[in-house]
């Protein structure tokens, strides 16, 4: 099966008054149709930048320096503005953080959905648009009557499901959800995630879930990618990540998670994430790494592909160091 999404060496920088910050230092990964990828990392690790770069919504002073984003064979970074406008929502959909608070408060839900469709297909007939909207609302388990309501009449969970509905209106191949449930209760969160699962099956899309709740990742995704200081430190399947993480940062992250059998034992990761303006030399994690070697201070580790669809960015696994 050919991957539906291929990100190749994506690089993004921000040019600020204080210098150039490397937000994304070359990300490479791929996704098959129907697969779910979880993108985790601390704040400032580059996860939202990755999402914005994939839909080409990086605004100055940020810039995509290099790289390709191939969705269904089409390289999004090479498209013109106009073509990209068409590609957004129809090929790749992005549901940003806090989307539910960005619904237009003065127009009905239905007209917001209609606007989204019209922007891609001016000539579509009213009935075909209405049908699309109704189907989208049904997929997220909302009654068609919701189209006549205003945003403030809906609860948090319902608003988030509306945002998902808007995201799937044009049956995109890739759906990116950035912290879709951070403001929702545990039970509503479960409902919304189950909705995303169902919807993904219906339209055969791949899903990227961005967040920092490892528990949510464990319950929902197939693959997990851990980011740190703009780099993908480890990409593994979800069972590999939670039972046998290999990158020192991923290991520390997993062992700091609270579990039912380790009450009262707190294990944080000492130190702070580096500023993107002043990244450490070599591997960005080496100041906090319990297994740092001399080479980690000088050389950026290569990305090594291991059997079982794993990729890891660490000198511990590069051939040079293997004795």
């Amino acid at each position: 099966m050919d991957p539906i999404l291929k990100v190749i060496d994506l690089q993004v920088s921000y040019y600020t008054d204080a210098g150039r910050a490397t937000a994304l230092a070359g990300a490479t990964f791929s996704l098959n149709p129907g697969e779910k990828l979880g993108l985790v990392g601390e704040s400032g690790s580059g996860k939202s930048t990755m999402a914005l770069a994939m839909v080409r919504m990086i605004k100055p002073p940020g810039r995509i320096e290099a790289g390709q984003v191939l969705v269904d064979g089409v390289n999004l970074t090479a498209l013109s503005e106009k073509e990209m406008l068409q590609a957004r929502l129809s090929k790749i959909a992005y549901i940003p953080q806090g989307a539910m608070n960005s619904l237009n408060p003065v127009t009905r839900i239905g007209s917001q959905m209609t606007d989204a469709v019209r922007a891609h297909d001016r000539g579509a007939s009213k009935t075909s648009i209405d049908d699309r909207c109704r189907l989208a609302l049904e997929s997220v388990d909302l009654k068609p009557g919701v189209a006549q309501m205003y945003a403030h009449e809906l609860s948090g969970g319902m608003k988030q499901r509306v945002c998902i509905a808007i995201g799937i209106l044009l049956k995109p191949k890739v759906i990116i959800c950035d912290e879709p449930t951070s403001a929702l209760d545990v039970v509503t969160q479960r409902q919304v995630m189950e909705t995303i699962d169902r919807v993904k099956d219906q339209i055969g899309a791949a899903v990227i879930l961005i967040g920092h709740d490892m528990g949510l990742m464990a319950q929902f995704v197939d693959k997990v990618a851990v980011m740190y200081a703009g780099r993908l430190m480890e990409v593994s399947t979800v069972s590999q990540m939670f039972t046998d993480p290999i990158h020192p940062y991923a290991k520390a992250l997993i062992s700091s998670l609270p579990r039912l059998d380790n009450k009262g034992v707190f294990q944080g990761i000492p130190g702070l994430a580096p500023s993107l303006l002043r990244l450490p030399s070599g591997c960005p994690f080496h100041p906090r790494c319990s297994q740092a070697m001399d080479i980690c201070r000088t050389d950026i580790p290569p990305s090594v592909t291991l059997p079982g669809e794993r990729a890891v960015l660490c000198h511990l696994f590069s051939e040079k160091v293997q004795l």
Binding site: E42, S43, D141, L154, S155, G156, G157, M158, D185, V186, V187, T188, Q189, R190, Q191, E194, H212, D213, M214, G215, L216, M217, A218, Q219, F220, V238, S239, F242, T243, L253, I254, S256, L257, P258, R259, L260, K263, G264, F266, Q267, G268, I269, L272
Partner: protein, 336 residues
């Protein structure tokens, strides 16, 4: 022996509308006591709309109860004046959810600490004040030189939240209300901030009321737990027992929906019977009736608490064989 804190049949009802008053019960009749000689950490858990924030505001004296009274060291807090009020204000402190919003953007972070020191005259000179600030910052795990003199936006979320805890600690409170103190902090830093809070109870004898919707953190820090749903107590008792083996259908649903970072524990074993948004009937029976898979006839009347063991009680007719627990004796089922 007067209790440190006593809530006697406290409730809070909001009514809207000019002609036809629509009443929303934020918190229904709740009674609670906390002792001063046994500092403990108690969790009040619930989703949004459960009444937990209302409870925090009532305890801090920012809103007044519709019925019932709140006593601090035997005195009704709404009647306190002058020096006694200042004592109450000093000894009952809070840490809030948003680490950034508590800072006045005009000042450096020092301002957050100097204000209470000045207001409560904790230091006789600037040097002494600075000493208190450095000591307290170190007690919460910060290097004073790293944070003093800086503006809030120059520090990380974790550092800001620790300064918030320091602000509360400076006043040497007896009771600390922590309203979602780590939910807006990076997951990797939560553990250490919770550890700091636990240290307050252990080393400074502070009783903590930890309010949250995140049962995983509650499990790790608290001893007792009260589960609220739409203003009513659903289940109460020892935190280990309730989280490992919940008896109330709502608590079961809650625990079941927690995404544990553990692949062997899949969420969603209980089905979600009805979505919260579809409920329009706010009737007079058990608050959980519309979503409860075990709904029975008696549930049309609000169920009282039934005692299931020494430190466990649930408000559900499934347990009506068990001895009833009068609402004002709620604290007897809380371990300390």
């Amino acid at each position: 022996m007067t209790h440190l804190l006593e809530l006697k049949n406290v409730s809070k009802v909001y009514s809207r509308g000019l002609l036809s008053k629509i009443a929303t019960t934020a918190l229904a009749d709740i009674s609670l006591t906390l002792e001063s000689d046994k500092p403990t950490i108690m969790t009040v858990a619930g989703e949004s709309g459960s009444g937990k924030t209302t409870l925090a505001m009532l305890l801090l004296g920012f809103i007044t109860p519709t019925t019932g009274q709140i006593f601090y060291k035997g005195e009704d807090i709404s009647q306190l004046r002058g020096a006694e009020r200042m004592t109450y204000r000093r000894e009952v402190q809070a840490v809030f959810q948003d680490p950034f919003a508590v800072f006045n953007p005009f000042y450096t972070v020092d301002h957050l600490l100097t204000v209470p020191i000045n207001r409560f005259k904790l230091a006789k000179s600037k040097k002494e004040a600075r000493g208190i600030m450095t000591d307290t910052l170190e007690a919460v795990g910060l290097h004073p030189d790293d944070v003093l003199g800086k503006f809030p936006h120059q520090l990380s979320g974790g550092q800001r939240q620790r300064i918030n805890v320091a602000r509360a600690l400076v006043l040497r409170p007896k009771l600390l209300v922590a309203d979602e103190p780590v939910s807006m902090v990076d997951a990797s830093l939560r553990a250490s901030i919770l550890d700091t809070l636990r240290g307050l109870q252990r080393d400074y004898g502070v009783s903590i009321i930890y309010i949250t919707h995140d049962l995983t953190t509650a499990y790790h820090i608290a001893k007792s737990i009260i589960v609220l749903y739409r203003g009513n107590v659903m289940e109460v008792g020892d935190v280990d027992t309730i989280i490992k083996d919940p008896q109330h259908p709502y608590t079961r649903l809650l625990i079941d929906s927690i995404p544990w970072p553990d692949l062997s524990r899949r969420w969603g074993e209980t089905e979600i019977k009805a979505k919260e948004s579809d409920i329009s009937d706010h009737g007079t029976g058990c608050k959980f009736l519309a979503r409860c898979p075990f709904a029975m006839d008696p549930c049309q009347n609000p169920p009282p608490l039934f005692r299931l063991s020494e430190y466990h009680a649930a408000s559900c007719y499934q347990y009506e064989e068990q001895p009833g627990l009068p609402a004002d004796q709620l604290s007897s089922v809380l371990p300390v």
